[in-house]
Amino acid sequence: MQARKSAEDIENIAAAWLARCEFDGLSQKEQSELDAWLCEAWQHRTAFWRLKAVWTETDRFAAMRRPEREELPAKPRRSTLLSPLRIATAALAVCVLATGGLFAGLRNSEQTISTALGGRQVVELGSGSHAELNTSTVLRVASDDRKAWLDTGEAYFQIKHDAQHPFVVSVAGYRVVDLGTKFVILNQSGRVKIVLLEGRARVEPVSDPAHATTLSPGDVAIATADALSITKEDPQRIAKALGWRHGVLIFEHTSLAEVMAQFNRYNAEKLVIADTDTAKLTVDGTFPVNGVSQFATAAKAVFGVHVERRGNEFVISR
């Protein structure tokens, strides 16, 4: 215990963060501070989870509320059902990964779950299945939890197979049918990319289900309105591309142009690269998804580039 922080110190910090979440929500900066603190040690994470678990349970006291408070209209978002902490959705990242289970009985008709720019959310789908939504994503889920529509954005699905009730995601004219599986679907303005991590899944054009293709692990399907092509991708690369599930972007020999595109998906603050030479620099490292200014600072130090702040843009040049 000498040099280490005592359990009491750690708990105090965890409790202070939770109290801040509860009353104020977290700014992007605070969220990354919290993420960083949680990343530091398992002791930090377990202390935070433990306090959060009990605090979440105290939402049951709301049952003692006077009736007029009960009549507040229920929002369609699951987060409000699953998580009593009243935090802006954008700040959800680590703080309010839904506790699931407890409130599962509250579900009713089809629900729309959406994330804001930079947001992330876990959606419990019952019977051991769940989805994780990335930034700027809209997912609709049928009341039976076995049908979903990815209207836009990106989602990771981890589905426990049930042959009687296959899980089906509809996306831009295609259906993805799970055959016991983990997969990611990205729908960026009609350009659909499906990556299969484990198990198998069937992809079929809605208009022509007979022309279905079955994906195996490592398969990447790119689907446009009239064509479906399959390529293989290295599992390591696939795993790195999923860093967002932990709130980070992982770069490995990634061009600055791609780094820019990645950060800009998540943040209102945009990276701008002024010249093509700079765009070709390659980057290694791991950054929080909202770490735009942190990245700009690092780029300045490592590459000796100029970084200029113009409004909400960071302009990087030689």
Binding site: A7, A19, A41, Q43, A53, Q236, I238
Partner: protein, 198 residues
Amino acid sequence: MADTPERHREGLAPRGWGALMPSSELEDWFVREVLPLEAMLMRFIRQNWRNSSDIEDLRQDVYARVCEAAKTEFPGRTKPFVLATARNLLIDRIRHEQVVPIEAGADLDALEVAIDDPGPERIAIAKDVLRRLQTSLDLLSPMQREVILLRRVEGLSRPEIAERLNLSERMVSEYLAQAMRALARIYFRDISETGQQP
């Protein structure tokens, strides 16, 4: 998760994150399977470690070790796993710190017997959560209790609570943080102990 091929997940370990298991899943498991064992774990540590000021640190280190191990694969049976982790931690402490704070040091092997006993803790804690919470609430300091009730029952904001209790907003947050800690401590301990002050 035991069937998860590791290769798909490699490279996802930025700076010590719960890299293999999605953190949400690990957290769910921890809350569902491990936390309900806290009373039993604390009893175990207390029985086997004389210096009572170390107990909370030991508990925290057990949780850290348990989750770190579970991030690759959830153990088949949680209770024996948690107790075995606790026992190993106590043994490590005795060896590395060269302290022998327990007379029972020689008896650590005998603890294996206790580890296999399937206790009723989980079931007990799942029952009547609200009653348990209310019992816990009664043991908080009056100010801590007020802040929780105003927040959860009345749904008041921080400025509203501050005004109602004639406190600064900073103190409202401070009381809430204290209340969260105290509540967790009371909530997870033995039902038989809840009659005593924390």
